[in-house]
């Protein structure tokens, strides 16, 4: 397919999204119609995007969509290269699922202001498309800010809850600040390149200190968007605040724009850097991964838990990115390719399964009216499809075969395994080895976390009346969830299709070689990177799993028939209530205790001892953890800024004489300054 048709396709997609906005505005009086038409169009736009991105990715060549002069900014180009196409593919899959899901999900939100929701949703998708497609710093920044703004408005859409508005505030201030760093990074390159177009940035010649500076600025800027610890504070607040179909895109795709940006900067603009770049990325990655999963494990709010788990996954992606950078600078292009491929694939997979989990959590929240795990339970019988979808998502995020999470996490582990080769010195080698262990531990903790969520929310008995009366979501919601679950399974069983596309994406960049990295063998995927050769056969694994399951079932049936006995549950002689069940807080207790120095957990019990002096009667129990990053950095900084502000405000004390005095002082100072030799 030639460029001409693709660019027409692109503009058709843009028009479809814009029509989605317009139609919602035009139909604002009948929300039901606005919902179906607008979200339907969004889904249609995503379908086109899927085709577009797939074509580019398969072709492996960049496609120029549009180029034109724009004010003083010079030539502005929209270009979809394989890297952008890869992320657009993710957006199309997640966005399409979320659009269809929204038709059922937002039917609950009908009100006078409803029309705003689909309008913003379409604009949000559109601006994200432009983030990936812009090949010019100015256009990129516009799209980037618009993406932030539309998502901010979606976060505060349910502004009746003060917490949502607060979350929106923190979100927008953090990202605005992050964007400031990005702008600085772009402009330093622009000053050297003389232009703002990405093409000029590729060959830009900077001094080493300037390159270091750009690296740091981009890391802070994109890191804020990616929510790496300690720049993450907005993420666990903002993601849960948005309506669930938006949360899915926020976590699934918008975080990945940061990975996209890092890939652009570190692969394309800056090229191979010194080792410490990669080491730094790895350091932040592992901290994010570990702390993220610990916080997720402690959480009882299902959506906030998922948001914290996003921190963990972005940490894992960063591990891959950092490892890739280390390998590049150590002159090991094949390993670099492996690490980058692992990072990109994990970013992709996380997008899919996290979106799936958010959508399923949204269905649960809508059915039960609560996000609190402690009030859920037993939903597997009342919401079987949602439960099935969530189960697949939970398996995928816990990186269990045969699902996609397993593949990318495994590849990341593989690349970390070779990290000591690229690091010099004893400490480097030890650190590399420890990293491997830390990642393995993270994976285990994730598994624990999702055992908790699935067990508490879907199994056992309902812990509240609302959970007892929950109903299955309509098919418009279950269908996209099951679709995403299918995607998890597909990329788990057939990873080579995507991995080979990723290797095509990575091949052109300096310091990376992906030729022959991933070959398909009869039994599965072959990985070949100098000394590291391996076979990863998911089909085999899946087959073994299947055999194991069949064997278990067979044994079960061979031993005899099951007998069903109905009897009350033994609860020390008292009638068993749902309150006797294991709780989410209780489940995470051992981990909380093990990591008490990091989590700084506190508990508060109010006990009335009058009734029974031996046992006591617990009246209230409150368990909380303290967030070390907030306490060590954000609160002191906030206090300091406000204290300084209060002090500075004395400048404007209200006295005319003082103000005239300022003018006099300024005059004298300026005269003295200008008179200096």
């Amino acid at each position: 397919m030639n460029d001409l048709e693709l660019d027409r396709l692109f503009f058709q997609m843009v028009i479809i999204f814009l029509t989605g906005c317009m139609s919602a505005v035009a139909l604002w009086k009948s929300p039901r119609l606005a919902n179906c038409v607008s979200h339907g169009l969004a889904a249609g736009g995503c379908a086109l995007m899927f085709y577009l991105a797939g074509t580019v990715l398969a072709g492996g060549e960049a496609v120029l969509i549009f180029i034109g002069r724009w004010l003083h900014a010079g030539e502005v180009a929209l270009r979809i290269d394989p890297l952008a196409a890869f992320f657009l593919l993710l957006l199309s899959v997640v966005g399409g699922a979320a659009s269809i899901y929204a038709i059922g999900y937002t039917a609950d939100h009908y009100s006078r202001r409803y029309a705003i929701l689909p309008v913003l949703f379409n604009l949000f998708l559109l601006s994200t498309v432009f983030v990936f497609a812009s090949s010019h710093a100015g256009a990129f920044l516009i799209a980037w800010e618009l993406m932030t703004l539309t998502s901010l408005l979606l976060v505060v859409y349910e502004h009746e809850h003060a917490a949502n508005v607060r979350a929106g505030f923190i979100y927008v201030v953090m990202t605005y600040t992050g964007t400031a760093f990005l702008m600085a990074g772009f402009f330093i390159m622009a000053a050297a390149a003389g232009d703002l177009s990405f093409e000029k940035f590729i060959a830009v010649s900077l001094t080493q200190p300037q390159r270091d500076l750009v690296f740091l600025l981009a890391f802070i800027g994109f890191g804020t968007k990616a929510g790496i610890i300690p720049l993450h504070v907005w993420l666990p607040k903002a993601h849960p605040a948005a309506p669930s179909h938006v949360s899915a895109i926020l976590s699934g795709v918008m975080l990945k724009t940061a990975i996209y940006g890092m890939a652009r900067f570190y692969l394309e603009f800056l090229g191979v850097g010194p080792t410490w770049w990669g080491v730094m990325v790895i350091g932040f990655g592992i901290v994010s991964a570990l702390l993220g999963v610990l916080y997720a494990l402690m959480e009882t709010d299902i959506k906030r838990l998922l948001a914290y788990s996003s921190l963990e996954n972005l940490g894992v992606v960063l591990l891959g990115v950092g490892a890739g950078m280390v390998f590049s600078s150590a002159g090991k292009p094949l390993l670099a390719g492996l690490a980058w491929a692992a990072a990109l694939f994990h970013a992709f997979n996380h997008g899919i399964f996290k979106a799936l989990l958010f959508l399923a959590a949204g269905a649960v929240v809508q059915a039960t009216g609560t996000r609190d795990l402690e009030a859920l339970g037993g939903l597997i019988r009342r919401m079987p499809y949602t439960a099935a979808a969530f189960f697949v998502g939970a398996l995928a995020i816990s990186s269990l075969p045969p699902l996609n999470g397993f593949i990318s996490e495994w590849l990341t582990l593989q690349s970390l395994f070779f990290l000591p080769q690229a690091l010099t010195g004893v400490s480097g080698k030890i650190a590399g080895a420890l990293l491997f262990i830390a990642l393995a531990m993270t994976a285990a903790l994730v598994a624990a976390c999702f055992v908790k969520v699935f067990g508490i929310a879907f199994l056992a008995r309902a812990r509240s009346r609302k959970a007892e009366t929950a109903k299955e979501a309509p098919f418009t919601m279950t269908l996209p969830m099951l679709g995403l679950a299918g995607a998890c399974l597909y990329f788990g069983l057939q990873p080579h299709s995507m991995l080979q596309a990723i290797s095509r994406v990575l091949q052109p960049y300096i310091g990376i070689d992906t030729r022959g990295l991933f070959e398909v063998d009869r039994i599965g995927l072959m990985i070949q990177a100098n000394h590291a050769e391996g076979v990863l056969s998911v089909t085999l694994l899946a087959g073994l799993l299947l055999i194991g399951c069949l064997a278990a079932a067979g044994l079960y049936y061979l031993r005899g028939k099951a007998v069903r006995v109905t009897a009350p549950i033994w609860a020390c002689g008292r009638a068993a209530t749902p309150r006797n069940q294991y709780s989410a807080t209780g489940f995470s207790g051992p981990v909380r205790w093990s990591f008490r120095y990091v989590l700084r957990s506190q508990r508060q019990r109010i006990v009335d001892e009058n009734e029974n002096i031996y046992v006591g009667r617990k009246l209230a129990y409150h368990q909380s953890i303290r967030y070390i990053v907030d306490e060590a950095i954000y609160y002191p900084v906030q206090r300091w800024i406000l204290r300084q502000a209060r002090f500075m405000k004395r400048l404007q004390a209200g006295s005319v004489q003082l103000y005239v005095g300022y003018v006099l002082v300024v005059t004298i100072v300026v005269l003295a300054w200008s008179g200096r030799k």
């Binding site: 405000k649 404007q652 004390a653 209200g654 006295s655 005319v656 004489q657 005239v660 005095g661 003018v663 006099l664 004298i668 005269l671 008179g675």
Partner: protein, 207 residues
Amino acid sequence: MNVLTVLLLFTAFLITRVSNLRLAIQILIVQSLGVAVACVWSGLGSELMHTYIAAMLTVVIKAGMIPYALFRVAARLRNETENKPILSPNQTSLAAALLLAVAYGLVDQALPGLGRDALAGALSGFLIGLLIMITRRQAVLQIVGLIMMENGIYLLGLSMTRGLPLIIELGVFFDVMVAVIVLGILTFRLKLSFMTTDTTVLQKLKG
């Protein structure tokens, strides 16, 4: 010329010691008349007609209309005097002396080669006017300080370039006059609203 410079400086120092509003206005008249004489003086040597017009305008506006307007305002402010200035008269005089030194320093450094004393005198007149605005509470005294600044600037221009072109000069005079009228209205309104023209009560708006 030197006599006039001394007169200007003398009036400027005198105002630093005055707490009675009417007296300050009278001193201002003397100073403005001195400026007018200086204007004529500089015009004597040449055939420039416009210096005479400027001198006449100075007399009419700065020694006539403005003091008249100020007297009218002051007449309504019966019990207003500068009771506790922000710097006491002694301190203000000392500061004025300091500014005189600063003015000499500045002239020596930045504008060498002209009439040194005249320039320094004019500049210190400007600075002392500013000083009065900073250290006095009474609205009328602040206006007086402002006009002293204008006088200083005018003299400075006179001693450097024999005054600005007439059309600009006219504009400046017009502005000064309107400014005093506006300030007069405001002072009068201050008295009505706040029962005083002590401008240090104007500290409600801050932050």
